[in-house]
């Protein structure tokens, strides 16, 4: 795909997904498919910065990500027809996806850590939906990656829905609401357990 030509690439993506939709509707895919549509332009812009050697960690909705990573259309189509739309994976293109919401995030962090240890110039790109980005695992992964300066970027794909559940409504309508938290500091006197003196039982 020629990512420099946004209009052309956008149409290629849409055409591919239309083909998959038709195959699904004609009963050729005996498995769930999570079709993409409407997010072509922001994705194309993001993928302009993603090198072939970089790693992409995706979600259950990964058709566009796979194509934009450079995986041949024929391979992606065959995988989808073989009931693996929900977990497209291609090691030749450093492309991983999982159907567990938020599940691929820590794996992405581990790969980013490995890249850092190796002194690699490659980067990890971790995609997550808007509900995934509200989960505790997202907080852990972003906090740990940031504080350890790991070569990873998280991309939140926000369509406002998790399956059919409105994400923000499910979390609570009062977006500015704050939990009551009291935090105090103190210096520990005794060790983690016991008294610090040896006891013979």
């Amino acid at each position: 795909m020629n990512l420099e030509d946004i209009a052309e690439t956008k149409q290629e993506l849409i055409n591919f997904e239309e083909e998959i939709r038709e195959a699904y509707e004609s009963g050729k895919i005996r498995a769930p498919v999570h079709l993409c549509r409407g997010n072509e332009e922001p994705l194309i812009k993001i993928f302009k910065n993603i090198k072939k050697e970089d790693w992409v960690f995706s979600t259950h909705r990964s058709h566009y990500h796979a194509l934009l990573k450079g995986i041949p259309k024929e391979w992606v189509r065959d995988e989808i027809l073989n009931k693996r739309s929900i977990s497209l994976n291609n090691s030749d293109y450093n492309f991983f996806s999982s159907a567990i919401v938020g599940g691929s995030l820590p794996i992405a962090v581990g790969t980013a850590y490995a890249l850092k240890l190796e002194g690699s110039l490659n980067h990890v790109w971790a995609f997550v939906g808007d509900m995934g980005a509200e989960m505790g695992v997202f907080e852990e992964c972003t906090k740990y990656s940031g504080r350890n300066e790991l070569p990873i970027t998280f991309i939140v794909e926000d369509n406002g829905l998790s399956v059919n559940t409105p994400t923000q409504k499910a979390w609570g309508d009062c977006k500015n609401g704050k939990a009551n938290i009291i935090r105090y500091s103190y210096e520990r006197v005794y060790p983690h357990h016991g008294s610090g003196r040896f006891v013979q039982f």
Partner: protein
């Protein structure tokens, strides 16, 4: 040689492999029986992680995708329960769900907490060996019943193409 001596020997053996890394809580700081078996291993091979059990196992998988052999450490089996998502949904399933594109290999080290001389309560000494065996079809689950099994088990885990969950018995640490 005591059970603990054999564990220390096994860890030192693993550490000789350039691709092996040790991850978890108490790999660099005291606080668990497991820590005492890692003291002679270079700090550069040990990554002390915060408590985030499930994320820890995901990070371990991520290392394995890059060719490392992570030894992911959970000082008590009760804590490994918190990582069951990554263990069952990814360590055990990635090869199948990716149509053999990825085959992570992780060595998971945990222990059934000791009951003597102090009883730590039901959340610190549970044994879920049989439950994990029934949930995992692509991960070898091995409980180290005596000290002479320890080094051969870790050697086999290092050589294996599969991931291995190795369960120690903390009450055995000072026994031959």
């Amino acid at each position: 040689m005591t059970y603990k001596d054999e564990l220390t020997k096994a860890m030192n053996f693993l550490a000789e492999n350039d691709r092996v890394l040790f991850l978890g809580q108490t790999v660099n700081y005291s606080g668990s029986a497991i820590y005492g078996t890692l003291e002679k291993i270079a700090i550069s091979k040990k990554i002390e992680l915060p408590i985030m059990e499930d994320t820890q196992l995901g990070i371990s998988i991520g290392f394995s995708l890059k060719g490392y052999i992570p030894v992911s450490i959970y000082p008590r089996m009760d804590f490994l329960i918190c990582a069951t998502n990554q263990l069952v949904n990814h360590v055990d399933k990635i090869e199948e769900m990716s149509n053999n594109q990825f085959k992570p290999k992780v060595i998971i080290r945990t222990a059934i907490g000791s009951r003597n001389p102090l009883y730590p309560g039901v959340q610190h000494c549970s044994d879920y060996t049989d439950s994990f065996k029934s949930m995992l079809k692509n991960v070898d689950v091995i409980r180290l019943e005596n000290s002479n099994e320890i080094v051969p088990t870790y050697k086999k885990a290092l050589k294996s193409d599969r991931s291995t969950l190795i369960i120690e018995l903390s009450d055995m640490y000072n026994q031959e």
